[in-house]
């Protein structure tokens, strides 16, 4: 890879590699790439390969092994449905069905307008509030179908208003 190409691609923090210089720094580098861009792009993989000398194919193998790494960008708002045991026993499936019904996406998908992505997580860690979801990090617990439908509709309305406001600013 030429210097020119590295210049085009806004590099993320590769300090871990400088400190360490060890293959062990690969996962922290990928985490840093994902923190910067929201996902691990092909360019990021090439860049890491260039910096570390680890073949891109090996890096891709590591990326696809771990659930944390995404190779596609996410929507603006992230909805996480907890599927830990406590939430499962307390009706996480019903929670998923309501969201699927409202947003017409399933897990690991993003709505067509790019607003919402739906993810399943193993355990958010507030089993006493089961079933729970988080929207952009905010937790909503002790859900039932009605409560949840209202939460999702409110989130949709908010997202629409924000998008309108942003569009307004552009045209103004």
């Amino acid at each position: 890879m030429s210097d020119q190409q590295t210049n085009e691609f806004k590099p993320f923090n590769v300090d871990v590699w400088k400190f360490d210089g060890h293959a062990g720094a690969l996962i922290p580098l990928l985490q840093s790439a994902q923190d910067t861009y929201g996902y691990v792009s092909e360019k990021a993989i090439d860049y890491i390969s260039h910096v570390t000398g680890i073949p891109s194919a090996d890096i891709y193998g590591v990326v696809t092994f771990y659930a944390q790494f995404r190779t596609k960008p996410l929507g603006k708002h992230i909805i996480k449905v907890c599927n830990g045991t406590a939430c499962h026993v307390n009706g996480a499936k019903g929670v998923y069905e309501v969201i699927q019904d409202e947003l017409t996406i399933t897990y690991d998908e993003t709505t067509d307008d790019g607003e919402f992505s739906l993810l399943s997580v193993a355990c958010i860690g507030c089993c006493s509030l089961a079933p729970v979801i988080t929207i952009d990090g905010e937790t909503y617990g002790r859900l039932n179908a009605q409560k949840l439908r209202k939460i999702i509709r409110d989130a949709k309305r908010q997202a629409r208003d924000q998008a309108k406001a942003a569009a307004g600013e552009v045209t103004a």
Binding site: Q31, V89, V98, C126, A130
Partner: protein, 585 residues
Amino acid sequence: MKTVTVGLGTCGISAGGEKVFKALQEELKDHPNGFILKETGCVGMCYREVLVEVTNGSGTGHLYGEVTPERVGRIIDEDVLGDKQIDEWLVSGDHREKGFFENQIRIVLRNCGKIDPGSIDEYIAVGGYQAIRTALTSMSPEQVIEEVLTSGLRGRGGAGFPTGMKWKFTKAAPGGKKYILCNADEGDPGAFMDRSVLESDPHAVLEGMMIAAYAIGADDSYIYCRAEYPKAVARLRQAIGQCRAKGLLGENILGTGFKFDIKVKEGAGAFVCGEETALIASIEGRRGMPRFRPPFPAQSGLWGKPTNINNVETYANVPWIILNGGAAFAAYGTQDSKGTKVFAMAGKVRRTGLVEVPMGITIDQIVFDVCGGIVDDKKFKAVQIGGPSGGCIPASMSDISIDYQNIPKTGAIMGSGGLIVMDETTCMVDVARYFLSFTQAESCGKCTFCRIGTKRMLEILERICEGKGTMDDLANLDELSDQIKAASLCGLGQSAPNPVVTTLKYFRDEYVAHIVDKKCPAHVCAPLLTYTINDQCTGCVVCAKACPTNAITGERKQMHFITQDLCIKCGKCFTVCRFDAVVKE
């Protein structure tokens, strides 16, 4: 002056703890010298979050539960400034909470919910870093190992290997450089013991690691922490920084010449990385696949060097053992399971949260005496212990003692401490399917039986849950279970069939009901349910509009009706009904 302390573990934050803390900060502006505001970790009473404790100058006080920002004003006015406790919000002294703390012995959780986890000084004030000082200044590494052997401490990560022995092996292994690893991957869904300890008392874990390092002769270490635990990672990094600043990590610790450092590695979301050889591969930057043992990490671990790996809770016990003596620890528990165990209680139990009880307690005692029994007084059906590698123990066996000898006899495992309580509304076939879908997705794919066998088992379970199973399926499940257990390299595959094996053993009639009667006795498996509308119906027509097959008929403001032949059991009517008028059975 009074002190007001807010529990800000992940559970407290999820329940709105930060908003309560902000409201208290606002109050503090109005009453600048009115009280001292502090934060702490997890008290264990997750079911009453947000928890706020008010203590007076002499350290006695009481705990309020379910605090909201709206309730803060009254707490400040009446209790903190007015000296009048608000009885109806009290948790401590509430007779309904009797037994929760009285039946616990807190060794691992000794500081959790008491001290500010962000303050090394508070940890030191309660005797923190005394144990490493004692070890470094008045004990030889052999004496430290001897003390841990006396305590009878066994690894709390699942397998229960004697900790002192592991240390002895690693110490004896040839090879100059040695490593210490702390396993904080806690991938079992429904378990949160390690997270709470890391968030509420990170220094206890660091001190345990230091003592292990001294005993073994290691000078370098990593804590491998789940990336899904951002708060725990932040707490660890902060605590490590404080130790370096105080000379408790680095060169020449406490002037004794002992040298040691700790780094944090974030996991990347793979359950199998909790397995020790996979964890090591992951730290080395590779795909986290387990490898054949021997050699065990004690001989050849991280970067091929002798490595001691223990679980978070295992390390957190160590400072207490050094300070109080191995014999004091061994005084708790049973013949071959000493000390205490922390359990994360979840599911259909009244008091969900974190409890620490002596080994050997019975399931009944923990569910009823400590945790107050089943929600809504429903019928207790089973506990699931050990997560995806564990099994379901029926209520009829709940007088069994929880220890490393008795739990495996049931077909379950002790595991790391997740305990899910199930009642009559939990379908055991669905639970088995749930755990298998987890292990199937998390299988790393190295061993054929684990990769493909679990997939076949899952397909069978899905069929049964849909009412399409046959009795032959049960025999196939048994056979596949045996094969997967025998032909898998690591604990993931070896234990993946356990949830199926135990439910088949104790709840076979539920499988048969699904297959032969096409019924789900717990009313969970949707395709086996019948939906009807009762007289709560107001005729709002919402369900009729939602029904994708037009199976629901009825006039506006008249009771509606579901034509069973047309119903595809999607459950839409049930989720949209606002009047509890749709019944599934």
